[in-house]
């Protein structure tokens, strides 16, 4: 097996003041060809793991090795952040420039591109995501789905080697979800995606990583299994039959 791109080695992490740690002696690896779903109940540390990899949080013990180099301090993480893209849960946290073009160009400019190059990269990325014509739109006036896709564009414009996506489908309608699935199926880079939606995971990843405090269990992606597995997926899925029954009542009203 080839060298893992990201390797989390027996880390311990607890939030300040928390009764018990999120991770204890926890290990995780991402290989160069992995498309991995990350699942676990609410509060199991999915977002925390992504933030630990990006250096937004620091483990109290253990090692994190990215692209073969151990990362520990803030300067260590600067090159990591240039090559690993993280899509945040909330697009409003990610889009902070006034216009779409400026936001997408922000990353490339930070990487040292000239304004002309950054503009070119931004426009190309927007076009690849089917967002041509969005360049001059004002970010806070976009719809929820548009904000999500533009956020993804801001990450992809940095041409990352690995992508981390934190619940990319929350709040998206079916059409936008399908656009996202198509985009992810075409991604030439490895990625980790946190999601509570078995159907979405089924169309985007081949393996799922079930998160526990001290280990993660990687299983091949099987839709039926996930749909039946209560603790891993959202209560929303186990509630589905209930929703169907309300639909049955619906027309009678």
């Amino acid at each position: 097996m080839s060298e893992p791109l990201i390797s989390v080695d027996r880390i311990t992490f607890a939030y300040p003041g928390a009764a018990k740690p999120v991770f204890q002696d926890f290990s995780f690896q991402l290989g160069p060809h992995d498309h991995l779903g990350l699942i676990g109940p609410n509060g199991s540390g999915k977002t925390t793991l992504l933030h630990l990899i990006m250096g937004l949080l620091r483990p109290q013990a253990g090692r994190i090795i990215i692209f073969g180099r151990e990362v520990r301090t803030e300067p260590d993480f600067v090159p990591v952040r240039q090559q690993v893209g993280l899509l945040f849960q909330n697009a409003d946290d990610q889009l902070f420039c006034p216009t779409v073009l400026e936001d997408v160009a922000f990353g490339p400019l930070n990487l040292g591109k000239t304004p002309a190059e950054a503009r070119e990269i931004a426009l190309t990325t927007l076009e690849q995501l089917g967002l041509a014509g969005f360049a001059d739109r004002v970010t806070y006036k976009l719809s929820g789905g548009e904000k999500r896709l533009v956020s993804l564009a801001t990450i992809l414009a940095m041409q990352p080697k690995v992508l981390l996506l934190d619940e990319p489908t929350t709040g998206l309608d079916e059409a936008t979800k399908h656009r996202l699935i198509h985009i992810m199926q075409d991604l030439p880079i490895p990625f980790v995606v946190v999601s509570h939606e078995p159907n979405f995971l089924h169309s985007t990843v081949r393996h799922c990583c079930h998160l526990h405090t001290d280990f993660c269990e990687i299983k091949p992606m099987r839709l039926e299994e996930l749909l039946n597995e209560r603790d891993c997926c959202s209560p929303g899925d186990s509630l589905k039959p209930v929703m169907v029954s309300t639909n049955v009542v619906g027309p009678a009203e």
């Binding site: 990006m54 937004l56 909330n90 946290d93 006034p98 073009l101 990353g107 304004p115």
Partner: protein, 256 residues
Amino acid sequence: MSGIAEPFSEGQSLAHRLDPRGKIVVAALFATIIAVAQSLAAVLGGLALAGLWLLLARLPARKVLGKLLAVNSFIIFLWLVLPFSYPGEPLFTLGPLTASRQGIWFTALITLKSNAIIIGLIALIATVPVVTLGQALHSLRLPNKLCHLLLFTYRYLYVFEEEYQRLLTAMKIRGFRPRTNLHTYRSYAYLAAMLLVRSSERAERVFQAMLCRGFRGVFYSLRTFSWQRQDGVFLAGSLLALGALVLAEWRLPRLV
């Protein structure tokens, strides 16, 4: 939402097309000169100059009047207080109150000054979108932090407004109606505190997202400004006019 809209920033007039850097410099000088001026000649001259800029901007008259009305509604309070409290030669009495000539003169001067400055700012600064304003200030070498503060305040004002509305709705749908009692005050205090906490947490997340995209404390701008001939003409003309105002202030006799 309407409070932070930019009604004057769109347009194709000469004032809109001028380089924002020239307009900022002229507007800053103009506001300073008018603010410290004491002579009627300088202030009236300033008012005329501001009016001229406003003509160049070709803004909808109704909206401009609306803005001026809003500003002058504050000045009414000055008229209610200043003439009666400023010491000087008595002019007339209203019951126990005595208005002084100097007081009335002083209030009139303040009214003229405020209107001149507001009209000047509407014509020169309000015709620049906030975003461009931030970038222009940046290229005028204003400290990075101040430019970021302006841009971020503008960007997240909407988000906080939305957050505020969401919290308010959440209160309303549970039957909250503001009254004059402790419960109301406490609920509003919670609302304000919650808004503060959420804003601070959001700021944290925004900063993290920026770090993840390689932010290292410096903003790079896509925009480049280009100084045209008309900008030179505007700057030279305005500076001459401002010089004349200073001369009027300095040479002509004061009335107070």
